[in-house]
Amino acid sequence: MIFNAVTAVLIIPITAAALLAMLPGYRIGARLNVLATLLTLLAALSLFYDRPQPGPYLLVDDLNVVFIVLTTFVGFTTSVFSASYIGHELESGRLKPSFLRFYHAMYQVLMFAMNLALVANNIGVMWVAIEIATLTTVLMVGIYRTHEALEAAWKYFILGSVGIALALFGTILVYMAALPVFGEGLDAMVWTVLITRAAAFDPALLNVAFVFLLLGYGTKVGLAPLHAWLPDAHAEGPTPISAVLSGLLLNVALYALLRFKMLLAVNPVAIAPGSLMVTMGLISVVFASFMLFRRRDIKRMFAYSSIEHMGIIVFAFGMGGPLANFAGLLHMTMHSLTKSAIFFAVGHIAQVKGTQRIADMGGLTETNPVLGWGLVLGVVAIAGLPPLGIFMSEFLVVTSTFAREPLLAIILVFGILLALAALFLRLNTICFGEPRGPVAKSDASYVPMFAHLALVFMAGIYMPPALVAWFQNVAKLLG
């Protein structure tokens, strides 16, 4: 295999994983982790300029380069956050050094798996990559070895496995559909080939395949009612993993779904995948919004918020059209950045307060102003308030939908409003009012959090034309 930017994105993490598995000492491990993610990020960035030709296994095109850069970027910032976070976990005795070595290695494996899923040009390889990603996160979620963590991991594992099985079935069906057109062999599994003649595929088979893929990858995306693993996995795992789960893994699964949606969109006879996605999306938005109200655990709350936003994104892509697709992409990007920033904040807050229970926190803007206002800003962003980026995407989703499907847009707006109400209900407890709980100062680094928020803020006001043109291209690709 020739060494180029694409392979670099894969080789760097897997090599780092091997190294990290052997290196003792968490300080070095954390630094190496940061370094490896930084290198991966640089390699990913170079994809903008030098994009290798797609091979039978690997592919970089307009669509996935967005995801790759986003993944590597958030992966990098999270590793920075993780470096300051995990030390504290060690001090507080929640983790043992040996687990840390495992943690860092697994982090790199996860990065590798996600990158592989993104650059895969083969539906089989993609499936495998997502499977690996799931397994690694299962292990990470259970890393604290508490009852709750094990239970969350177990739940994640079982539900994830069923999901992945369904996705495999869907993958097989797609292959079957392509079989008569391309004949036996590798071609019938390669994206770049499939998409060229998808119109000739057996539409009925594609329909069934999409159902399985929607449910299979939808489980990973966290769509209701397949979401059950998500809140617990977010809540019980280490916070960097929560950030990566919400910010990246959900996206990766979504990416897979989008690829298949493109396939179906090309076929004129197949059912419109849009309506299924729109339904699932709306159910997720409304359901998650209601669930937000009764949350008492801060991380679980933001996990439900991720379900809500995934619902919005899936809804947007389901609606289709250049505006909604653009909005979906933008929303996805913004959500990744914002949600991971929120989890960075939440991680520090939980460490300062020594708990994740919302009732035990209070008046954070008073005791830890930087952290508190950071969280406020994050929640403001995630609730879709301006001038941050999510407002722009929600604006586009709602306005472009309402003229076409008024009823659906109203449901969506209802969900968004509910989520806002729920989030601020808890935010008021956490950040305002009389201070509660321990008031230790946090010495953590806030750079990753504010870097994300600054990007989100900037996107809400000014987006570079190059980025826009590129998003528009992708939106067109998505149909």
Binding site: K155, L159, G163, L166, N207, V208, V211, L214, L215, T219, P225, L226, A228, W229, P231, I271, L276, F287, M291, L292, F293, R294, L323, G363, T365, E366, V380, A383, L385, P386, P387, F391, M392, E394, F395, L396, V398, T399, S400, F402, A403, P406, I410, V413, L417, L418, L420, A421, A422, F424, L425, N428, F432, G433, E434, Y462, M463, P465, V468, Q472
Partner: protein, 669 residues
Amino acid sequence: MTLIIALNCIAGLLAVTVLAVVIGRASVAAQIVYGASLIGSLILLFAAIGHLLGAADPVSMTLPLGLPWLGTHFRIDTLSSFFLAVVDLGIAAASLYALGYGRHEQAPQRVLPFYPAFLAGMNLVVLADDAFTFLISWEFMSLSSWALVMAHHRVRENVHAGYVYLIMASFGTLTLLLAFGLLAGPDGDYTFAAIRAAHPSAGLVALVLILALIGAGSKAGLVPLHIWLPLAHPAAPSHVSALMSGVMTKVAVYGFVRIVFDLLGEPAWWWGIPVLTIGAASAVMGVLYALMERDLKRIFAYSTIENVGLIFVALGLALSFKAHGMPLAAALALTAGLLHVFNHSLFKSLLFFGAGAVLTATGERNIERLGGLIHRMPQTAFVMLIGCIAVSALPPFNGFVSEWLIFQAILLSPQLPSWGLKFLVPAVGALLALSAALAAACFVRAFGIAFLGRPRTPAAEQAREVDRFSLAAMFACAAFCLIVGVLPGLFIDTLAPVVRSLVGARMPVQIGVEWLSIVPVAESRSSYNGLLVFFFIFMSGSLAAFAIHRLASDKLRRAPAWDCGYPDASPATQYTASSFAQPIRRVFGTLVFRAREQVVMPKPGDPGPARMSVELRDLIWDMLYTPIAGAVMLTAERLNGLQFLSIRQYLSLVFAALVILLLVIASWP
């Protein structure tokens, strides 16, 4: 040029925001921030006035910000320049006031950064020329004011107020979002120019009207969407309350006018009906709430609801007239509405400044614990009296002028051909008259209990007059109230280009009328001369005083109060605000508030006190919001069970989803 100046000022305000974040805790920060805001708003004010007086052509500008393929469009036309002037006059006054008031702030770092941001947001809304810019500014305005409401977050009520506020604000924004979604169509023609050019179908337009009414109305505080307003406005620091009540609600009115009068095109015959109904209901309900309230700032906040109701009644009339091809009458109604916008921003700012002064001086907002402030704070009391007269729509101050114009517009409405309006308008007129009378009662109560009588608490007894800046701001507002009251013609003429651009006609030129009277339609029909009325009152009053003092007696003795011969003991025997409102509560309260009074008398021979309690229910909360909140919470509670299922049950959900989807596929045609 005007636009560039304006945008630069706004950019300056945003820069001040950033600066304030950095220096928030420094002692000079307040002076810098408020000083800069004052200068910025004055420049904006003069730019706006220049544009308005020059009746200059609209100027637009596009910046490469916001939605990338769209850019950020700004435009200043006569309508926006008028509102820009209203906004910035209010801001200038508030900033001046804050130069003094801001010193008493305990948590300046929670106020200073958001204050200029809030100002910038309000200015941007008025200048926006595409849906995205409009909404982003609109919500930004809400958000920054939310942060200001949360400034004193340790008080539980404030957090609750902020919460309700934010939700209602977002609700409003989302409805406007839907409205613009309809206007822009699925292809996203978000610029106002494109929206104007489009000709949507009648049903769609109707939906937009309703959405705009809900969206802008929730921000303006129309009943029943007003619930946040009496909570949030008082919670903020007083200069911010003044801005929220006096100015931000006007920005909401601007939003409504912009969408309905400008973007939607020709109105249909029925458009006026919902606007009139809601406006009249708000006017009466607002003032009734105000009468029952004891918190000074909340009284003023409820009075804002009343005044916004008045403005919407005027707008509804203008819509009806415009729809029926009566541009002159429409011009009258619209002028009345816009003039009231201006007037209300003046006297409501003044009143909130006064409330802030009282708060600074005594630490009290509850008027039951005030009293006699006129002795300790004579200047504040004087300007507050002017504010109260103005807001009660009594001559010769400005409130009366605009209300008088609205009545004149109502009197033109029998010519409307539609039957619905024929029945509705007189009823609306009666409700307006009722609200005007009740407003006078309300402000007699507010001023009388807080400023007159004897101090009810030591805090009120030890009040001290406030600082020069605050007084300067209040006197400036009061002076404006009088000027508009006595020279309304000038302002009506200034509004002419605004009105002409929206309804295609204007009121007759006022400036040439003899003695500076105002003549809405024709002199034989009606006219009013504030200047002469003021002059006559002043002359006859002074004449009487002069004559009596000269010819009869000018001697004066002080003695204990007579009070029908009761030797008075304590200030507690004074009439309280609640007892003052009791007759009105008896008349209206049983219906509107389900008021119930309960008196527990001691047994005969028992020297213990009798106790009386009054129970008021806010029916809008009880019948609208509580059920909604209850339903949401109940659903959340029910659905919450899904968090606690076993893995097997979760798998069942997946399984069920799979089976259902397969069934869908199987039955797909």
